[in-house]
Amino acid sequence: MPLLRLERRREPSRAMQYATPLLAVALTVMAGTVVFGLMGYDGLGAVRQIFVAPLADPQRWPELLVKASPLVLIAIGLSIGFRANVWNIGGEGQYLAGAVAGTAVALATWTREGAWILPVMGLAGILGGMAWAAIPAFLRTRFGVSEILTSLMLTYVAVQGLFFLVRGPWRDPDGFNFPQTRMFNAAQTLPAVSEGSLVHLGIPIAVLVACLAWIVLERTIAGYEVKVVGLAPAAARHGGFSERRTIWLTLLAGGGLAGLAGILEAAGPFGQLTPQFPAGYGYTAIVVAFLGRLHPVGILLAGLVLAVTYVGGELAQTAIGLPQAATGMFQAMLLFFLLATDVLIRFRIVPVRVARARAAA
């Protein structure tokens, strides 16, 4: 006989909304120690390298910001859709489409200089991501095809498209036949926030986007519409909110932000496109969006948490030989624990005796 039982709360607990992401991180750390210990690694060491080392060393902090910025941008875009029950899981593909579109501008202007080039590349990136997201939006609104499957399928198409371009038409003619594009020139590369710093302009942009998203989602009719369509579709229809419009808006916003993240990454840390460019940020951003409670400020924090796992994963690789895949395991465990502990928002755990007594009363 179970001793504990779940009892539905009268109202969802606000405190738990904030507590469960922290609880999930704590449980992941504990489970990680056990799992990696059982696999024959130094479990405590792995957890220390992955979760503590990047935070303890201030020299790693710029690296954290660099990793967090694409995650935050993509996750904010996805979260807008998730709020409205629009399951765009093709953030990775839209990220790549943005990088490809922005790079097209860079390659067309590589002999030129001028302050106008970067903004045009950024705009092309946004439009590229939007175009990629417009396909699932069109198929969903016109034919009722699930955006879950189409947005994901298009990610595989985008990866192959990028491979084709860097191995074929866009291969650097002076690059000794390596499958990569030309390096972007100085006018096409994101400037650092301060001289010699790793921190590039993409990081303030990500923070700015988070603030804007917060205002739009909390303070405008459009943000309200997204929320209502997600929480109460019937009421939304009754209130004259169009489901079609919401699908289009959320997918375009998600695609645009993922595309922006893509071109910022290409023009920032990479400085070109290579076959290593698809790094799975679009998938990790799904974890970020949920861990951040689909809220822009939460996503900023969650982006940093996941950035810690990336940087820490690399540290653990060199320090104790933990395979890189361990990072992905930690990220997935984080999401599992979050989904599991989220039950506490709607339910409380009570001893069976108490529940019976209450039921009898």
């Binding site: 879950i148 395991m329 465990m333």
Partner: protein, 307 residues
């Protein structure tokens, strides 16, 4: 010459179709019970790696298949515990399962990268299995025939048996099934577990027969194609077979075109074909309004808590 090419084409086709058919049969049963498990790709990868590891350790591909079924099943029970036990969101949990499967398989598989393993191998004796023409019928491993038999069995189970009827009832109207006294959560857990076992077996088909060696993410999105196939087949096992073999044909075209050094299209563009074909068929099947929504189990993806 031509007949040899046709035979080889047909055989590649059947073998490419088999893992998709296995995985989508499992997902069909889960969805018929009302559960949308987007973790197929993750469960396939977990099955692929457990199958490979077990086959390497025991030297038996069949024991590998058994381990793969158990691996996929274990992964699906995590999903069942979260979505059914704790009423978590099915879409988010399925995605988490896929991310988990990618990470876990690559972590467990790290020592095996590039290693080969004994294949499952043909079922029939060499006289039949290697005959230049007859091998198109007798040249396959157990799983190719098994997948077809399972498709027939699942169709019969859902349509003509009492447990099958109960399973469909749970997927169509969980509250009525509950009020008649059936345990919605138990039926769904069983359906999800079946889906997990099948996905695990499908994964093992990649690592033990198609590839047959270990490489990261060797299922290459086929789990997602299996999910799409269930929609394409309007939740009918018979159409699932047709759909899986159709996709097998697309993938075989890709392989043959690559092998022939097909000059017209670069390999990357050919590699897009299965995914583009998936989008195309999902669209075609949805052109007539209401067709998909009418065929889908009414409670698909919705949480159910008995209290």
């Amino acid at each position: 010459m031509t007949s040899a090419l046709l035979v080889s084409f047909a055989m590649t086709l059947a073998m490419a179709a088999t893992p998709i058919l296995l995985a989508s049969l499992g997902e069909l049963v889960a969805e018929k019970a009302g559960v949308l498990n987007l973790g197929v790709e993750g469960m396939m990868l977990i099955g692929a790696v457990t199958g490979f590891a077990a086959a390497t350790l025991t030297g038996s591909a069949y024991l590998g298949c058994l381990a793969a079924i158990l691996g996929g099943l274990a992964a699906s029970l995590v999903f069942a515990g979260l979505t059914l036990g704790l009423s978590s969101n099915q879409v988010a949990t399925g995605l988490a399962l896929t991310i988990f499967g990618v990470g876990a398989s690559s972590l467990i598989g790290a020592p095996f990268v590039g290693k080969t393993v004994a294949r499952i191998g043909p079922l029939f004796p060499a006289a039949l299995a290697e005959h230049p023409l007859l091998r198109v019928v007798f040249g396959y491993d157990l799983l190719v025939y098994g997948a077809l038999a399972l498709a027939a069995a699942v169709g019969w189970f859902l349509k003509h048996t009492r447990p099958g009827l109960i399973l469909r009832a749970v997927g169509e109207s969980d509250t009525s099934a509950h009020s008649i006294g059936y345990s919605v959560l138990a039926v769904r857990t069983a359906a999800v577990a079946f889906g997990g076992g099948m996905a695990g077996l499908a994964g093992a088909y990649f690592s033990l027969e198609l590839t047959p060696m270990w490489a990261d993410r060797l299922t290459a999105g086929r789990g997602w194609i299996a999910l799409a196939l269930v929609v394409f087949a309007s939740w009918r096992p018979g159409r699932l077979v047709a759909g899986a073999y159709l996709f097998g044909a697309v993938m075989t075209l890709e392989l043959h075109a690559k092998a022939a050094g097909f000059g017209l299209l670069p390999p990357e563009i050919l590699a897009m074909l299965p995914y583009l074909a998936t989008i195309a068929v999902l669209t075609l099947i949805s052109v007539r309004p209401g067709r998909v929504s009418a065929a889908a189990p009414a409670c698909l993806g919705k949480s159910f808590s008995p209290a």
